[in-house]
């Protein structure tokens, strides 16, 4: 079979086929509505799998699902910092309030950005859930009941949210493979969350917590209540390559785990944030 002839035939009904098949060039807007023109199921298997990669893998539904999931997490963070900054006497004036205000603004910007992006795909952004920042599932007396009264509790929850957010975006990146600008935007949010995490960890370090800007092993420096957000970070093998003492270099197990952050799946993240959502 001559694949280029087949592509020529498809091009007659879908002028953008070459752009679609090259995942780096396509604009998201070109996806929607193509399914009506060609019965993909009728194509030979090899070609069908190619189209699956070009179309289905990054279907509107998948992309929307990732963005709605991200929006829910950003709602959580945005409201968390908004309420913290508004809580009288919680955050010391000066550098600390400045830093938390910066982070709050970024999270609110992420919410707005994701809502706009979802709307531009012709979808309706999910609405903001009701949150229980004590992690009490609505009881408001969970393990972090004093989160807006106790600065150290607040910082501990903030660190957990940021580190978890990094893992959430990281876990979704492969699902956005081939979406071009959508993937890039998600990565550009992902690294901002990591910058936040680094700073919050330094704030906790200054308060006496035993943490560094990066994650050592699966240690949270917080306690069992947040352990699920750190489990798996102790990995020191990447793509079957052992990082500890790699190639005779003096790389400790700790450094090996710090050098790579680990993803979490959507299901894992949803289980982690469940106690915070009423």
């Amino acid at each position: 079979m001559n694949i280029l002839n087949i592509l020529d035939e498809i091009e007659k009904v879908d002028g953008e086929v070459y752009e679609r098949l090259n995942p780096r060039r396509k604009a998201m807007g070109e996806f929607f509505g193509f399914g009506k023109k060609v019965a993909i199921a009728s194509l030979p298997f090899a070609l069908g799998s190619m189209f699956k990669k070009a179309y289905s893998q990054t279907s509107t539904t998948d992309v929307e699902g990732v963005l709605q999931f991200a929006l829910t997490l950003e709602y959580l963070e945005a409201e968390f910092y908004t309420r913290a900054v508004a809580a009288a006497g919680l955050i010391p004036a000066g550098a600390a309030t400045g830093a938390i205000t910066t982070i709050r603004d970024h999270e609110n910007q992420h919410v707005a950005f994701l809502k706009t992006t979802i709307s531009s795909l012709g979808k309706t952004p999910v609405s903001k859930p009701t949150f229980d920042f004590s992690a009490g599932n609505g009881s408001m007396v969970g393990p972090f009941a004093d989160v807006f009264l106790n600065y150290d509790t607040f910082l501990a929850v903030a660190q957990t949210f940021e580190d978890t957010g990094v893992r959430a975006y990281k876990g979704q990146a492969p699902a956005l493979l081939g979406t071009g600008g959508v993937l890039t935007a998600a990565l550009n949010i992902h690294s901002v969350e990591a910058r936040h995490a680094s700073h919050i960890r330094q704030m906790r370090k200054a308060r006496g917590a035993n943490v560094k800007p990066w994650i050592t092993g699966k240690e949270s420096g917080i306690g069992a209540a947040v352990q699920a957000s750190y489990d798996g970070e102790e990995l020191d093998t990447q793509a079957n390559i052992k990082i500890t003492n790699i190639n005779g270099q003096n790389i400790s197990v700790s450094a090996a785990t710090e050098a790579f952050d680990e993803p979490l799946t959507k299901a894992q993240i949803l289980a982690i944030v469940d106690p915070f959502i009423v």
Partner: protein, 234 residues
């Protein structure tokens, strides 16, 4: 057209998807160029130019992107190795400890890419740090900040150029660590600048840069000439 044929064979050997997209990519380029003798000549000339250019050849496709990352990690590792060999005057114990950690992370990244690339790995690059005063805190931290922010933007920009989901996931595991470094270094220079408007835009998004821009910036510190002519660009 010899190079084109060779390219296809390599792509086919690697995996079918790569073969197909390589083929399609070329065809769509021919369409843009106005298919015909003129277009083909243009492609052939382009290949010849790429292959003949002197310097360390990064390669094409995902291998090219991995070598690009490997080059940047070589640069960062070399920098922090020198920083930690003789710390700038006035370095606190906390700073020494954090900078040593970063050195280890960058060395781990460098060696990881070297092993992951195997026979496709580029050689060791020669760096040029003549513009850095390693005895000066300001000079060292300013350079570290530039390298870390550059690294973050490089990985962010390279993500959409990667075809393999596994490689994309690995890049994601590294970029957030670079972002943690960047935030720390920025705070060491001036507390609270971990994510200021110099790097984060009004949508709350970090920067992303394409390889050519990154290599142009990094070129100041790399003596070895790098041939990135076959890296994906979109």
């Amino acid at each position: 057209m010899t190079n084109l044929t060779q390219g296809d064979e390599q792509g086919l050997l690697k995996d079918q998807n790569n073969f197909l997209s390589t083929k399609v990519h070329r065809r769509s380029f021919l369409q843009y160029a106005g298919a015909g003798a003129a277009g083909i000549a243009l492609v052939a000339a382009g290949c010849k130019k790429d292959k003949m250019t002197e310097g360390v050849y990064l390669g094409a496709g995902d291998v090219g992107i991995l070598n690009y990352a490997y080059a940047l990690e070589q640069l960062e590792a070399a920098f922090y190795l020198q920083v930690a060999t003789s710390f700038y005057s006035g370095a606190t114990d906390a700073e020494k400890s954090l900078l040593s950690d970063i050195r280890d992370h960058e060395v781990a990244h460098r060696e990881f890419f070297k092993n992951a690339l195997g026979v496709n790995a580029i050689t060791n690059l020669e760096v040029d740090f003549s513009s850095i005063d390693f005895s000066s805190r300001a000079s060292v931290l300013a350079t570290a900040k530039a390298f870390e922010d550059l690294g973050v933007s490089a990985y962010n920009g390279a993500g959409a150029l990667i075809k393999d989901a596994g490689y994309l996931a690995l890049a994601g595991k590294i970029v957030s660590v670079e972002a943690r470094h960047a935030a720390l270094i920025r705070d060491l220079i001036s507390n609270g600048t971990f994510a200021n408007s110099e790097v984060i835009d009004s949508n709350g998004l970090d920067k992303s840069r394409m390889p050519m821009e990154v290599l142009s910036i990094a070129g100041t510190y790399i003596k070895t000439k790098i041939n990135a002519g076959d890296l994906p660009t979109s």
